[in-house]
């Protein structure tokens, strides 16, 4: 099976979409999914637990240099940036905030584009700043698939609109279409 890395970036107005996506995913979903969500830095506990109630797939907040494996869902830890490396591990960092964000969606998108190239499916959802646009552009330039939530469908359109202003993504979809697309992706890439 063709290996894919699905990376979803979301900020204000995207949490409900994430919950619905988790509910829609089949139990034996074959690709790793990486969620990079802007979240409160001091709220460490309860977040993974809250998401875990929505899916039977294991949700992991990876430690530095942890191996990313197919069939798991990963969530970028609070107050760290997360890079995806060539050897399928993650590297965490305490570097400066980017677009006032740590985790920065740009960093995860950009590093995944570089190390995993056309395997990456980058998804950018609702949000109130411009994080993610440049990183998604890199995924596009390295041959990956880019999906942006339709700004008219997003609770807050700034983040998806910033990406559309920068380049033409592979697909512009509503949240419902995005959930449908990701949860059935394994039927396309067999």
């Amino acid at each position: 099976m063709a290996q894919k890395y699905i990376i979803v970036g979301g900020s204000a107005g995207s949490f409900q979409i994430i919950l619905e996506l988790l509910e829609a995913l089949p139990k034996n979903y074959p690709f790793p999914i990486f969620l990079v969500l802007h979240r409160l830095k001091n709220v460490r506990t309860g977040f993974v637990e809250a998401l875990s109630t929505k899916t039977k797939i294991k949700i992991i907040e990876p430690a530095d240099k942890e191996l990313i494996e197919a069939g798991n869902i990963y969530i970028a830890p609070a107050n760290y940036h997360t890079y995806l490396e060539f050897d399928n591990t993650v590297s965490l960092s305490t570097e400066e905030t980017i677009n006032h964000s740590r985790p920065s969606i740009d960093i995860t998108f950009g590093s995944a584009a570089y190390s995993q190239k056309e395997k990456v499916v980058g998804v950018l959802l609702s949000g109130a700043n411009k994080d993610g646009a440049e990183g998604l552009h890199r995924i596009h330039q390295m041959g990956g698939t880019t999906i942006v939530q339709n700004p008219n469908d997003a609770k807050i359109s700034t983040m998806p609109q910033a990406a559309i202003d920068l380049f033409e993504p592979t697909k512009i979809m509503t949240a419902k279409e995005i959930i449908n697309y990701i949860s059935k992706l394994h039927f396309i890439y067999v």
């Binding site: 001091n42 430690a63 107050n79 760290y80 890079y83 995806l84 590297s91 305490t94 400066e96 740590r102």
Partner: protein
């Protein structure tokens, strides 16, 4: 390749740069975490007009430019009292165990910014153990300037919010004086601090034994091999039953000697060296 005005290094260009730095400056950058180091080199180069990788090598022949890059590669640790829950345990549970000791030795390896040092000093004052503690602060860089303890108002406000999470009895403001209207950590806090140059990448030994090593969010910037050897160096410099504190996003799981430690506080990533 240039994307959005940033020169993105290919793997070969990156290798050429680190080989050049190794030859010219005897510093082995391949031991540092790949993606982070690569991105920081790219970010650093944004201030220059880069057409191709030859211009990068030409730039790095300038020692001043290289030294600025080398400093930039040492990532800051964000804020004082980052992870308040950890410092709460450090102050209320861990330091308590040393109350009857005559002397406490603490090592903060690889310190390049002030946050963790100032946090440790304040925690020691809160626990009234400062007078019998010696803190060794080491880095690959010159780090004596860390005693210039001026803190910006923004940093102070972030630190204050974090500090409130430690539930300390002492008022945070008591640890500072005002100088030119900016908060400055009291000078006497540094009286038991020793600065040392030390490099894990060069596999240097410490030849000292410490009771506590605070090594939070520093090995993130090492590759797995250097992480292993750094932890082994720390192990060899830690007293039996001494404590090692690592960052919440870090793990000892990939380390060959992890079984020589017990995790004493799971939520704080505090480990104790076994007998």
């Amino acid at each position: 390749m240039i994307i959005n005005n940033i020169y993105i290094l290919t793997r070969n260009e990156y290798l050429n740069i680190i080989n050049f730095i190794q030859r010219e400056y005897n510093i082995d950058i391949s031991k540092y975490s790949f993606s982070i180091t690569k991105r920081r080199i790219e970010e650093f180069l944004r201030q220059f007009d880069i057409k191709n990788s030859d211009t990068i090598i030409e730039l790095l022949k300038n020692k001043n430019i290289f030294e600025r890059l080398w400093e930039y590669l040492h990532v800051p640790t964000t804020e004082m009292f980052r992870d308040a829950s950890v410092w709460k345990i450090f102050q209320q549970k861990l330091l308590e165990k040393f109350e009857n000791n005559d002397f406490i030795k603490i090592w903060l390896p690889e310190v390049t910014t002030d946050d963790e040092l100032y946090t440790t000093l304040i925690a020691l004052y809160n626990s009234r153990l400062q007078h019998k503690t010696r803190i060794t602060v080491s880095s690959e860089l010159k780090n004596e300037k860390l005693t210039e303890a001026v803190i910006s108002e923004d940093e102070f406000q972030v630190a204050l919010r974090n500090y409130q999470g430690t539930k300390s009895n002492n008022n945070f403001h008591n640890h500072f004086i005002k100088k030119d209207n900016q908060p400055v950590l009291k000078t006497e806090y540094f009286s038991n601090v020793v600065f040392r140059k030390h490099s894990f990448a060069k596999d240097e030994r410490m030849n000292e034994v410490f009771d506590i090593v605070i090594f939070r969010n520093r090995m993130l910037y090492f590759n797995p091999q250097l992480q292993n050897s750094a932890l082994t160096t720390i192990y060899n410099s830690l007293a039996v039953k001494g404590y090692l504190i690592i960052g919440l996003g870090e793990t000892l799981n990939n380390w060959s000697l992890k079984n020589k430690f017990n995790q004493v506080h799971k939520d704080a990533n505090i480990f104790q060296k076994r007998k």
